[in-house]
């Protein structure tokens, strides 16, 4: 029974009305800005706005690439995300398995609560904690070094330390959430498998390596591939609050997101900022498509689309 477009419109009017706020929201905050990527090819002027400004071809991109910034921020973004994916997942799986295997209910509850603590605080507070630790004059790390008879270290002026610091901070903040997610996945593994293994005389480590970890693999693969799709997106909150606009550290801490922000707000270079953002969106789109293709190959059910 076909009713034609207007008939269907009438039939679904309540449902369509219920969708309207969300549709408007995404048109305003996602779709119109998508059209705004034309800015990357324009010389922005306030009178012209997004669509009225004059074209200037690929000059914005040439600026971005010729400055050498493009390679630096892209490399940093990708390398940080790869390190985060590996370190965070390994630690989270490790903690998840131990939380599952360790018997004491109270112990489990307390450690889980403590590990979840960093997840709940804002990056601003994390920035304050970093200041407490790494500040040159009064930082805890330096007071510790001095009390042990070493020289003070100027951490906020030494780019080489920051990859390690940022990887540790990322692991610290994500540990609780991730390990609980893995714990949930382990809990849903069929207990009959464990019972069968016990009858077969498997020891506890065989149980972990032959049953728990293989059964976690689908979860691991989905999470990792989703993260791979976001490999060119930096966690702005983290980088900005840990490092801020400290130019001395940019060689090892500048990522695409902080670069785009700086070009927009600090140097007010709207054209180049838009070009860098466009570059990031395209790279991100391509990696998400590739990641999804990989998931489909692994198992169609886990694919995003």
């Amino acid at each position: 029974m076909r009713q034609g477009f207007w008939g269907e419109l009438k039939k679904y009017r309540t449902l369509l009305l219920m969708l309207t706020p969300a549709v408007l929201f995404f048109i305003l905050f996602a779709y119109i800005p998508m059209a705004g990527i034309v800015l990357a090819f324009k010389k922005y002027s306030y009178d012209g706005g997004i669509f009225g400004s004059s074209w200037n071809g690929i000059d914005n991109f040439r600026f971005f690439f010729d400055s050498g910034d493009a390679w630096r921020v892209t490399r940093n973004t990708a390398l940080y995300n790869i390190a985060f994916i590996i370190v965070n997942n390994v630690l989270q799986i490790f903690a998840g398995i131990l939380l599952f295997e360790v018997a004491g209910k109270w112990f489990r509850k307390i450690t889980q609560t403590l590990m979840f603590l960093p997840y709940f605080i804002s990056w601003v507070v994390v920035g304050a904690i970093a200041y407490n630790l790494f500040n040159f004059d009064v930082g805890t790390v330096n007071s510790l070094l001095v009390s042990l008879g070493f020289e003070k270290s100027d951490i906020y002026n030494t780019p080489a330390y920051w990859p390690f610091i940022l990887v540790i901070v990322s692991a610290w903040k994500a540990l609780g959430y991730g390990s609980v997610m893995y714990l949930a996945a382990i809990t849903s593994i069929d207990t009959e498998m464990y019972e069968a293994a016990q009858i077969d005389g498997a020891n506890i480590f065989q149980r972990i390596f032959r049953i728990t970890i293989p059964n976690l693999m689908p979860t691991v693969i989905i999470l990792v591939l989703l993260a791979v799709g976001n490999i060119f997106r930096g966690d702005f909150g983290m980088f900005y609050n840990m490092v801020g606009n400290n130019g001395l550290l940019f060689s090892s801490t500048d990522v695409i997101d902080t670069y785009v922000f700086r070009s927009l707000i600090t140097s007010n270079d709207i054209g180049m900022s838009a070009a860098a953002g466009f570059f990031q969106s395209v790279l991100g789109f391509v990696t998400i498509m590739l990641a999804n293709f990989a998931v489909r190959k692994y198992d169609k059910d886990y694919a995003l689309f």
Binding site: E8, Y12, M18, V23, I32, N132, L133, F278, F305
Partner: protein, 311 residues
């Protein structure tokens, strides 16, 4: 056949059990030690901030921050609570933004998710893709920023702290997958009884979705409470600064802090305990979350478990 197998296994049981027992102990040792270390690693930074906020300023300048206050002092908190006007204002902004944003966001998220679960809605897949596509591709920061500032004219309004974060595709998807586990027969029978789509949603679906609503609601509330990014981009009026952004400003700008304290009537401005004051401010700005999170965490854990069991 099976009895023979189990009998022969039963025969080797004692030796096997011995090995298993020692393995258990080894695993327990590894487990307790590693988990304790990880928990400590997560706790220590907070402990440092608490301890620093309770240390006398001269002790900090002499010896730096440390795990145990060398000279105990509540001076930083005294100053903070003596002139709480700005902090309270920031609290007010954050609380209102969080309340309005969470209620409105949760309502719209669940309503949208519900429509997308309706099998009899023929355009459901097209709309799903319309929402989902925004996670694949975006215009980037610049057009988004110009949209809000130049076209919607939202700079320095309370709305700008709420509106851009109102909906999130990921939450819609999670909510939708929860709601599609509610039997369709419920919707069908209500329709036969003459209930409209919106009534079905409010009276039947919402009460049945409580666990998902609690989990997503907490996610949304946490995002609003911890937000500072929208304020960084769009807020310059001090009256509209949310708590996290206020803290951010104060941490980076002790002169500004001094000025604010002076305006509030403080006479101590010449030797304000800046370092311990920074840490005390951090504690006060984090306070409610720190107090509430052990209770909130339970819901998160349950919500995550639901998601995992459903696959």
């Amino acid at each position: 056949m099976s009895t023979v197998v189990s009998e022969s296994r039963a025969g080797s049981q004692p030796a096997g059990q011995k090995i298993r027992h020692s393995d258990r102990i080894l695993l327990a040792v590894i487990g307790y030690v590693s988990l304790s270390l990880l928990a400590l690693f997560c706790l220590l930074p907070f402990w440092l901030v608490v301890s620093s906020s309770l240390t006398d300023e001269t002790a900090i300048t002499m010896n730096g921050f440390s795990l145990i206050p060398s000279t105990f002092s509540v001076e930083a908190y005294r100053i903070l609570f003596e002139f709480p006007k700005d902090m309270l204002k920031a609290y007010g902004v954050t609380i209102s933004v969080t309340l309005i944003g969470t209620v409105l966001g949760l309502f719209l998220t669940s309503m949208t998710a519900y429509v997308l679960t309706r099998r009899d809605f023929r355009w459901r897949n097209r709309f799903s893709f319309f929402f989902f596509f925004t996670t694949l591709f975006s215009g980037g920061l610049v057009p988004w920023y110009l949209m809000i500032v130049n076209y919607l004219q939202l700079k320095d309004t309370l709305v700008v702290l709420i509106l851009p974060m109102l909906l999130n595709v990921f939450y819609i998807i999670v909510m939708k997958s929860f709601m599609s586990s509610i039997p369709e027969a419920i919707t069908e029978s209500a329709k036969i009884d003459g209930a409209g789509d919106f009534r079905i949603f409010i009276l039947l679906i919402v009460p049945l979705s409580k666990p998902a609503l609690a989990t997503i609601g907490l996610f949304i509330a946490l995002a609003y409470w911890n937000d500072w990014y929208n304020a960084l981009l769009f807020i310059s009026k001090s009256d509209l600064m949310p708590l996290q952004y206020y803290l951010y400003r104060m941490l980076g700008n002790m002169d500004g802090m001094r000025k604010a304290m002076m305006q509030a009537g403080a006479v101590v401005n010449t030797n304000l305990p800046t370092e311990s004051l920074k840490m005390a401010m951090t504690i006060v700005a984090t306070g409610p979350i720190l107090l509430a999170y052990p209770f909130i965490q339970r819901f998160f854990v349950q919500g995550l478990t639901i998601g995992a069991v459903k696959g």
